[in-house]
């Protein structure tokens, strides 16, 4: 018999084995997302005279594996807002559901004043900042594009830390290094936006998508592009990069298999 009273009436270790404490006691708090899993790469956007262009390719990578090749990363919210998602794809899908429920709620309560791009940007910024403050971040970098309350072109970004900023041209991920300099060459500041036509802006963004495909190993030549103007959203989701020229590749030396 066991002479320790606190053990009486309990299953005997020598018969049933020691109690498995792992069921109720862990040493660390709940594990939240520590790193993204399936990811989308750059999103590129630029303002022009009377609207905004935004583009992102249709690839979702699993590390270095090109896992899903038909993932649409631009989301039309209404006739004047499009959101582009970079980063974790499952978190993008969560945000997509969140925006769906927001849209339904908004449409029930009022019809006169639909949410514009600035509203949606503020909303998403608060969501992202809340989640980072809970140490449970949504691993995305978003670009919110469209028209603001005065029907002026609007372009701003939110990242997983809740950091927000706005600029006449924006690009996330690899695009911040590769596309942003190209975009800034044509649209250096807010004043330059007035001199850029829709055709020029679209061509500029397409050029950026091409440069990104040349140099970003996690990119693809199939992409989505959206143009938002006062006449609505024109979203194309099955575009293919045109006029690719790999002639430059022949001249590249110094890494890969050949050394010099």
């Amino acid at each position: 018999m066991n002479h320790l009273p606190q053990a009486w009436g309990r299953p005997r270790d020598d018969v049933y084995g020691a109690y498995d404490h792992s069921h109720f006691q862990t040493q660390l708090p709940n594990q939240h997302t520590q790193s993204p899993i399936v990811t989308g790469t750059s999103v590129v956007a630029a303002k022009f005279k009377d609207g905004v262009v935004i583009a992102a390719d249709n690839l979702a990578s699993y590390g270095s594996l090109a896992r899903f090749t038909d993932v649409k990363r631009l989301r039309k919210f209404n006739d004047e807002v499009v959101v582009g998602f970079g980063g974790d794809v499952s978190d993008m899908q969560y945000l997509d559901r969140l925006l769906n429920s927001l849209d339904i709620r908004e449409n029930y309560s009022n019809n006169e004043n639909p949410l514009h791009a600035k509203n949606l940007h503020t909303y998403l910024a608060k969501v992202m900042y809340k989640r980072r403050s809970d140490f449970d971040p949504l691993w995305n970098h978003l670009l919110v594009t469209g028209l603001d309350g005065e029907k002026k072109p609007f372009l701003a970004s939110v990242d997983l830390l809740g950091t927000t900023f706005s600029s006449p041209t924006l690009a996330t991920g690899f695009g911040a290094h590769l596309a942003q300099p190209i975009l800034r060459r044509t649209i250096p500041d807010e004043d330059a936006v007035a001199n850029v036509s829709q055709e020029e802006a679209v061509k500029l963004v397409q050029e950026c998508m091409k440069v990104l495909f040349y140099r970003d190993a996690r990119s693809m030549d199939k992409y989505s592009i959206a143009v938002i103007t006062t006449s609505g959203v024109e979203l194309k989701q099955d575009e293919k990069l045109e006029n690719q020229s790999w002639a430059f590749a022949e001249r590249i030396r110094g890494y890969g298999t050949q050394v010099n």
Binding site: N2, L4, Q6, A7, G9, R10, R12, D13, D14, A18, Y19, H21, S22, Q25, T26, Q27, L28, Q31, H32, T33, Q34, S35, Y129, R132, S133, F135, P137, S157, L161, G162, T163, T164, F165, S166, S167, L170, A176, H177, Q180, D189, E190
Partner: protein, 265 residues
């Protein structure tokens, strides 16, 4: 009460059996906490108070690493006043460090100052606002707002008032303060030019006979010039500072705002 009847053995006492049972889950190799909730968005701010005015200034560049996020992201915010564009506000807050925390802090202080007016029927004084800001920061000291804040306005006597803060709410009223990326470049310049540190009366003697030049509030145009000089110099030597210089000058007539270009390189 629940603890008494839980049946769990007393902590540190013998286990259920003569065989000691493990008390905690087996600790295998766990993944390290990988998410860091802060970043530094660069930039610099500075504030100088005078006899009947306060000037706050900040550059408008926002960075992450070597990237420039945008060339126009203001770090100066009007606090209080009416409506979303803070009409007739008399207090200015500048925040530099982690921009998302800065925006959150601004938003909280702004609503508090506006609510104060609704509830008390009078404007909040700068001294009260300054103390409230300290409390907001201190309340979050275990997960701080990663910002260096400077608050400016006019005190009850109409003199320039300037308060500076650390991220956990320590604060102090000062004549001048530089904060942010180029603080270590600007602050010594300000010590010398505003508080006349290491300046002596010419011909007052040598060694211990030297008479220190006494600091007095500077006129407004001199201060504006100092601010411009401080920033043009900081731009030359710090890569996170540049693009634009935003200034807010608080006088008894209200807040005057200016934006002048800085080098973009």
């Amino acid at each position: 009460m629940a603890a008494i009847f839980s049946g769990a053995p007393p902590q540190g006492g013998p286990g259920y059996s003569f065989n000691q049972t493990p008390r905690t889950a087996p600790s295998g190799l766990r993944q390290h906490h990988g998410f860091y909730p802060y970043t530094d968005n660069g930039g610099s701010t500075l504030g100088i108070s005078g006899a009947d005015f306060t000037i706050l200034a900040g550059d408008t560049r926002s960075t992450s690493g070597y990237n420039i996020n945008t060339r126009y992201a203001p770090k100066l915010f009007k606090i209080g006043g009416e409506g979303p564009d803070n009409k007739n506000a008399r207090i200015v807050l500048s925040v530099v460090g982690f921009a998302a925390d800065g925006d959150a802090l601004k938003e909280r202080l702004d609503t508090i100052v506006k609510m104060y007016k609704y509830q008390h029927g009078k404007e909040m004084s700068v001294a009260a606002c300054a103390q409230r800001l300290s409390h907001i920061l201190y309340n979050k000291r275990f997960f701080p707002y990663y910002v260096h804040a400077i608050l400016g306005g006019l005190d009850e006597e109409g003199r320039g008032a300037l308060y500076s803060y650390d991220p956990v709410g320590s604060y102090e009223r000062e004549q001048c303060r530089a904060a942010g990326a180029a603080a270590s470049l600007i602050m010594p310049f300000l010590d010398n030019q505003v508080n006349f540190k290491n300046q002596y009366e010419p011909g007052s003697g040598t060694g211990h006979d030297l008479q220190a030049k006494v600091a007095a509030p500077l006129p407004r145009d001199t201060v504006e010039e100092l601010v411009r000089d401080a920033f043009t110099s900081a731009v030359e030597r710090h890569i996170e500072v540049g693009d634009g210089l935003q200034m807010m000058i608080i006088t008894r007539d209200g807040i005057q705002e200016t934006l002048t270009p800085l080098k973009q390189d």
